[in-house]
Symmetry: C2
Subunit: 396 residues, 2 copies
């Protein structure tokens, strides 16, 4: 049982306001407590981040980590996920204040109380975030919230080739221009969005950067001016939304990217999504080389980047009943990861290792570093009960 | 030996440019590599953060974590420290990309490569940051850097009582006004600064908030306007620096706080510095109650707050040869921590546990959570070799 006041989680779940309502407890998707003045909220793991933000609307606060629309907070903790807002707001690990965790031996611990800042002992919160369920079962999460920015503007910029788009993005980052989001979509992905027809306009089928600027009025105006100035030498066209509807429309192409790709497939199709991350100066090279590799291998893939973080995705459409095509897709992912590692990057920026990238993790960090992770798991889960087979194996 | 390219640390230290220069290796205070375009730097642990920033001046980049002027990067990693910039820039854990660590069994690991964002396996970087040297010996650190903001303005605001200052600060945070620093000093501390005479003016001996605003011109102007609007109902006087010299002068009182207190003492004197952190809504209450308690106990203490983070310090001047006074100081610290814990806060926001707060850590997180920390230490350091006696004991 949780040893101190303020967080007896399982008790809280069985007690009012959930007393007797078994279905609520089973769903594990409730807001347990909202501390509006402290700007934090205590939730159960199965709540979706979008649903959480709907419930927070009246407070003028929001939870800024924004992965795919269906993602749940528990899964987001598991993979240390992020999304388009990460450039300004950071990733999941930056927004978790504490976790209630059931350990393999049945002990229930709470990793922290509720201060927004602390140096009290090991950062267990940071260890459980991103551990993909292999260290314990998270039953309750306290999240920081942020005031909703006063003003948000959205802009879309096209480029004649992807190298120019990547260079413009690097220059934005290096200059430190305050931007909430900076997202890249390549020509293939823009054409996929057009073909799927999920948005209300026809897009130029060119490499495109999507921007969100937010903050005070003066800050947004300055950021837009500095952005124009910085990317002018590289860009073809600029378009800034006049109002919220137009902003929503401009942003929709980015948000529809994955669904557009899925919509293009038929019964035998799958979309393989993968992600890597590299130091910023390598962005242009890895994106250009990966695009070329995609063409050379003859696979059909869009390149989508959280480019402000040096992180990008390949969305690869393929026929899962065609073993030859499957092989080419595997080769494509393999090459992308190898390239990222050569550049001192990571085999995953936000998706996690799971079962598919265990070998890459070993390549990325080496046997000893992964073995330290294994030592830590064994210390908490000696019988290997918690989500076995993920991240690394019992023995490599 | 480090198993992958890009970080064979000990080798690098013995090789050029350090080959033969034993003193450099022994000092462990060198910049190993500066990746200007990636906005990161690889350093040895004994370099001071101020010295590092001097070495970075030509790049228009800086390392934003700013604790006491003499602090070294290795120690800052150990305690997950922060400073006045934490409100905007976060704490040490947010700025470490990777660590090279010598483990108790002699293995040398590197926790990450150099991506700014990753979800590849457990966040070992985040585990070693704040572990106070109890898990391994850090020999090399890769730090993120940030572009220096274009504009910085400094402001000083006085209040007739400390409750009003704390309330004004809470309202600033809740509204999300972008501020780089928001620091509180109480009337006692302001009078200490005057008596020590280390700054070039005489200050009003009133509770005072020190602000730093930074960013684009428009952003700074908006932030100052919104700050005036928000704190107007509570404040006595506003003063904004006209130029850099005045800014430096206004900020000097804050930076001189600890040294001013030390300067007031005589041969038998010590300054006991302590820190706690609480959820934001409890700031006013804990500061007011702690001030009253200081008066009731008859100890001489200034209250200094990184109030933007819900974190504040007591600087307590006392005679270390007077056991009665020593007892009262201990009581004062004890009461401050107990109060923070009652408010769901932490016994330390940035100083760490060390030997002095081990009992408080147990009170804060409970036996099981601290025992999980012990399990993790035992997994990496079964013979309890690394900085023993810190954070928790072998057996509680």
């Amino acid at each position: 049982m949780n040893p101190y006041s303020g967080g007896s989680s399982l008790e809280a779940n069985f007690a009012a306001p959930y007393g007797g309502v078994t279905i609520d407890f089973m769903a594990m998707d409730q807001v347990i407590a909202l501390h509006e003045e402290d700007m934090d909220v205590v939730v159960q793991p199965s709540i979706q981040w979008q649903e959480l933000n709907q419930k927070l609307e009246h407070t003028n606060l929001f939870f800024p980590v924004d992965p795919g629309p269906s993602a749940k907070i528990g899964g987001m903790v598991g993979t240390n996920c992020s999304g388009t807002n990460a450039m300004h707001y950071g990733t999941m690990k930056d927004w978790v204040i504490n976790l209630t965790v059931v350990l393999a031996d049945g002990r229930i611990i709470k990793t922290r109380r509720r201060p927004r800042k602390t140096s009290a002992g090991y950062n267990l919160t940071g260890l459980f975030v991103g551990s993909e369920g292999t260290l314990g079962l998270v039953t309750e999460i306290t999240l920081k919230l942020s005031p909703i920015p006063e003003n948000t503007r959205v802009g879309v910029v096209t480029f004649s080739d992807i190298g120019k788009a990547a260079t413009a993005a690097s220059k934005m980052i290096r200059r430190g221009i305050p931007v909430q989001c900076m997202e890249l979509m390549d020509d293939v992905q823009m054409s996929v969005v057009n073909r799927a027809g999920g948005t209300s306009r026809v897009w130029k089928e060119l490499p495109t950067l999507f921007f969100k600027f937010s903050g005070t009025k003066g800050q947004v105006a300055d950021s837009i001016n500095q952005t124009k100035e910085t990317i002018q030498p590289f860009a073809d066209t600029f378009e800034f939304a006049k109002d919220d509807d137009e902003a929503h429309m401009l942003w929709s192409a980015r948000k529809e990217a994955l669904w557009s790709m899925i919509a293009l497939g038929d019964e035998g199709s799958s979309v393989w999504t993968t992600d890597v991350a590299v130091p910023i100066s390598s962005l242009r090279e890895i994106i250009e080389t990966s695009k070329k590799d995609i063409d050379d291998l003859g696979v059909f893939a869009g390149v989508i980047g959280h480019i402000g973080d040096g992180n990008f995705h390949g969305f690869i459409l393929h026929n899962r009943n065609d073993p030859e095509e499957q092989k080419r897709v595997e080769q494509c992912v393999h090459n992308m990861v190898e390239r990222a590692l050569e550049m001192d990057g990571s085999c995953t920026g936000e998706h996690g290792i799971g079962m598919g990238k265990k070998d890459f993790l070993l390549r990325e960090l080496g046997y000893d570093t992964v073995d330290v992770m294994r030592n830590l798991k064994l210390a908490l889960d000696p019988h290997w009960l918690m989500n076995p087979g993920k991240i690394f194996d019992f023995k490599n």
